[in-house]
């Protein structure tokens, strides 16, 4: 064991990766030592996932080098990488639910032989579990296991093959505190066995708790790689979010009116029956934009679903201008004045195969003047569409064009045109400028500001802090399904919000 000349286990040198014009990784460089826990810290869009993909073989960097165990490597696939010793545990597990742990781990592995010896494999995996102090019933189907246990199966996949470096992508996003402790205990054992762990995270307390070094990424660049013991949450937060933003949007303070949207102790379940939104309370007033910051996965989409009526609220109350809308249908809620801009435009907000004009009436197609006696009034709809196209500057060949052919910015304009053309009491927007260029983004903001003038209120769910600082009046932070804290825009700073987003109260 050559421990005198301690060459790093992994060296990333000037790695660059772009997607079209978008530079995801810009000359990223850092090292990981053997048998060490290192964190890769960054916000959404910082380039962590792209970097991770290059390291574990899912992507080829455009330029730069990856040196692993002293040799330059290029991986042709994740399979290739794992055989050479680098494995990845994803945020979203890739498991077969009805099958048990053993089957999930050994599927497709050459070492098993054509006829499976499940008993032998079970023993082998059981030994691995014992080695790391993890116990659970390996014969249970995955669907009956807790999220923490499922994650352990993903880790086992890499350990079964034998890796020297394990990447973990936001592993604690869906774990309970106890499960987090267990995970960290396992990780510590791994490093004791000589396996290095690269933990990708946005949570500062985790970084402080478990890592030896931390590499901070921001907007595709490596900002710094520092020893954890020499850092503090504050210093890391600063590296994480950078300096305060310059306000670019001219925002005139509008006098607030009565609450338009009140959320009280709301609880919402995820599809897998775990709690996504946990006793959440928020109030949006007329004339204000309430920004909701937070890293994705902390309950935002389930909150959105509950507000628009697509998901049941388990507990709590939602009131729109004083009226309880908890168990109303999406159509009713929309008709009462709730406008919504969903996160996934083509999946949740638009019918791709429909034309622009058809999408412009989607959701209001039941109402006069677009429809009377069950018959759609296409002339009126056409007029309205043409108005909308010019009012909202939708770049399209015409109202008849199929919406799936439009660019992202124009898709969003169609949604905005539809949602804002009818009386709005409250608007919920989820990542509204994701994937849009500057001009399109500013167009969206200008429309939002106009809404405020008519005393509507906006709940802006976004991972983009710059955006929130630009136009929000208040910023609340959602963490693990509830509001961790809230600041008015005058009191807020990127450091404060960054800390809340990272789970630090």
């Amino acid at each position: 064991m050559n421990s005198e000349v301690d060459s790093p286990l992994l060296s990333v040198e000037n790695l660059c990766k772009s997607f079209g014009k978008f530079v995801a990784n810009d000359h990223v460089s850092f090292d990981i030592e053997k048998g060490q826990i290192q964190c890769l810290l960054g916000e959404n869009g910082a380039g962590k996932s792209t970097l991770a993909k290059c390291i574990y073989g899912a992507s080829k960097p455009d330029s730069g080098r990856i040196i692993f165990k002293g040799q330059e490597v290029t991986f042709s696939s994740p399979r290739d990488a794992i055989r050479q010793g680098i494995g990845m545990v994803h945020q979203h597990f890739v498991l077969s639910e009805p099958m048990n742990a053993v089957e999930n781990i050994i599927v497709g592995e050459e070492s098993t032989g054509a006829i499976l010896n499940l008993e032998k494999e079970t023993i082998k995996i059981q030994n691995l579990c014992d080695q790391y102090g993890v116990t659970f019933d390996l014969s249970l189907p995955v669907s009956q296991l807790s999220v923490g246990q499922q994650q352990w199966i993903e880790i086992l996949k890499a350990l079964y093959v034998g890796v020297d470096l394990l990447l973990l992508d936001e592993p604690t996003a869906v774990l309970t505190p106890q499960e987090v402790d267990r995970l960290f205990a396992v990780i510590s054992k791994m490093t004791a066995e000589g396996i290095s762990v690269l933990l990708i995270t946005h949570k500062l307390h985790e970084v402080m708790e478990i890592s030896k070094k931390v590499t901070v990424l921001r907007r595709g660049k490596t900002i710094a790689t520092v020893e954890t013991k020499n850092s503090s949450k504050a210093s890391l937060a600063k590296l994480l979010v950078g300096k305060n933003f310059d306000f670019k949007v001219n925002k005139v303070k509008v006098k607030l009116s009565t609450p338009v949207l009140e959320i009280e102790n709301l609880s919402v379940l995820r599809d897998n029956q775990t709690l996504a939104v946990n006793q959440l309370s928020l109030t949006v007033h007329g004339g204000e934009i309430l920004g909701l910051a937070g890293v994705s996965g902390n309950g935002q989409s389930e909150l959105f679903d509950a507000l628009v009526g697509v998901r049941q609220a388990e507990n709590g109350e939602i009131r729109l201008s004083g009226e309880v809308i908890n168990n109303c249908s999406p159509a009713e809620i929309s008709n009462k004045g709730m406008a919504s801009v969903p996160q996934d435009r083509l999946k949740q907000g638009l019918v791709g195969n429909f034309s622009v004009k058809e999408n412009l009436i989607l959701g209001v197609h039941n109402n006069k003047p677009y429809c009377s006696g069950g018959v759609l009034n296409w002339k009126t709809i056409m007029d309205y569409s043409q108005d909308a196209i010019s009012n909202f500057d939708i770049r399209t060949m015409g109202p008849e064009q199929k919406v799936e052919q439009l660019s992202g910015g124009n898709l969003q304009k169609v949604i905005l045109a539809r949602e804002l053309s009818h009386s709005v009491k409250a608007l919920i927007a989820s990542s509204p400028t994701r994937g849009l260029d500057i001009n399109a983004s500013y167009y969206v903001y200008s429309r939002f500001l106009e809404l405020l003038k008519i005393k509507a209120g906006i709940l802006l769910i976004s991972e983009d802090l710059e955006e929130l600082f630009n136009i929000a009046d208040r910023i609340a932070v959602i963490y693990n399904g509830s509001i961790l804290g809230e600041y008015s825009i005058e009191d807020a700073s990127t450091e404060k919000i960054g800390l809340l987003m990272a789970g630090v109260k």
Partner: protein, 355 residues
């Protein structure tokens, strides 16, 4: 220089039409090849088909008569398939419709209504019957998410057995060895058009085609049907009750298929007779796919099919080729259409080598 195959975002009208053209061309070539392999003269056969289908007024009438029931079942299929509700039960719903009209006639033999009231009433009865037979799988799907394909196929068999039972039992014409009812009273006969054998059913079918067009593209329900078919998730988010749409779709689809059954027995046979449908229901599915789930396409395809069917009788006079050749060609055309449309969705793209 390396190439990669990638999928297009959208196929566009131009390429879509081109793919149909290629599909038809390949099919015709294949058909000609098969004719030649048979030892027949391609030219003679094709001429015979044409003569038998459009060559005379009589032939044309026959073509339209043959097109009528499958036009209706094709329209019934459009309603369902546009919502991506897979109704394969048109055959059974057609039987239900015929049986429904028969039931009314046999139960109230002395109605003595003028035809102008009697006939719409009977057609309405066949629509209701078809709707019920379509509503059963529709309800099971909407409420319980039971696979509608299997249920509709099963119901096809069940109702045909029921029909056989009735025609061999309580509904059988007294003294007859055959599976048929007594002849219906004259007031139930669909009037003939222009002094020809072409009955009102053809116009009813055309009218229905127009109504379906109006429904799907001009009415709110049609809008919701299309939305459910294209993106049920977004439809849900935007307030469309997709389960309700599922049920209504099956009711409507069943009703139109039922109408086809009613029209066929009131227009041609004037009694319920075993075997009155030579697979009209299934042909309707074929027609819908060929016609790209559009009423105009279905009208054209059904006339085309009626023509081929008629022409195949003539073809039999001039050649040894069996009549089922026509079915095969229709099947081949759809396979080709699916195939070429999918192929045209991909394209080659050059990629520069990354050093």
């Amino acid at each position: 220089m390396a190439y990669t195959i990638e999928k297009r975002k959208d196929i566009g009208i131009l390429l879509s039409s081109l793919s149909i053209l290629v599909a038809l061309t390949v099919s015709i070539l294949a058909a000609s090849g098969m004719i030649a392999l048979y030892g027949e003269d391609v030219g003679i056969v094709l001429k015979a088909i044409f003569k038998g289908s459009f060559g005379s007024m009589s032939a044309l009438i026959d073509t339209l008569i043959k097109a009528t029931p499958i036009l209706l079942t094709g329209l019934a299929t459009i309603v369902a398939f546009r919502a991506k509700v897979w109704n394969i039960g048109q055959e059974g719903q057609l039987y239900a419709g015929a049986m429904g009209a028969t039931f009314v006639i046999l139960t109230f033999p002395d109605l003595n209504l003028p035809a102008v009231i009697h006939i719409p009433f009977l057609l309405f009865a066949s629509m209701i019957s078809g709707a019920i037979w379509g509503g059963i799988p529709g309800y099971l799907k909407a409420r319980y998410n039971v696979n509608e394909i299997i249920v509709t196929v099963m119901l096809n068999y069940i109702i045909q057995y029921l029909c056989t039972f009735l025609l061999n039992g309580p509904w059988q014409e007294p003294g007859s060895y055959y599976y048929n009812t007594v002849k219906f009273p004259e007031s139930t006969f669909l009037p003939l058009l222009f002094d020809t054998r072409l009955h009102l059913g053809f116009l009813i079918a055309l009218l229905t085609a127009f109504l379906i067009y109006f429904l799907i593209w001009k009415m709110k329900l049609g809008f919701e049907i299309r939305a459910r078919g294209d993106n049920p998730i977004a439809a849900n988010y935007k307030g469309i009750n997709t389960q309700r749409v599922t049920l209504i779709t099956m009711l409507l689809s069943g009703a139109i298929a039922g109408l086809a059954g009613g029209v066929e027995i009131l227009g041609i046979h004037h009694k319920l007779i075993w075997g009155f449908s030579s697979g009209f229901g299934f042909t309707g599915i074929l027609i819908c796919l060929l016609g790209r789930s559009h009423p105009l396409g279905v009208v054209i395809a059904s006339i085309f099919f009626g023509a081929l069917h008629n022409g195949s009788s003539a073809m039999q006079i001039y050649s040894e080729i069996p009549r089922s050749f026509v079915n095969l060609i229709m099947g081949l055309i759809i396979v080709m259409m699916l195939f070429w449309e999918a192929v045209f969705k991909y394209r080659l793209r050059r990629i520069e080598n990354v050093s």
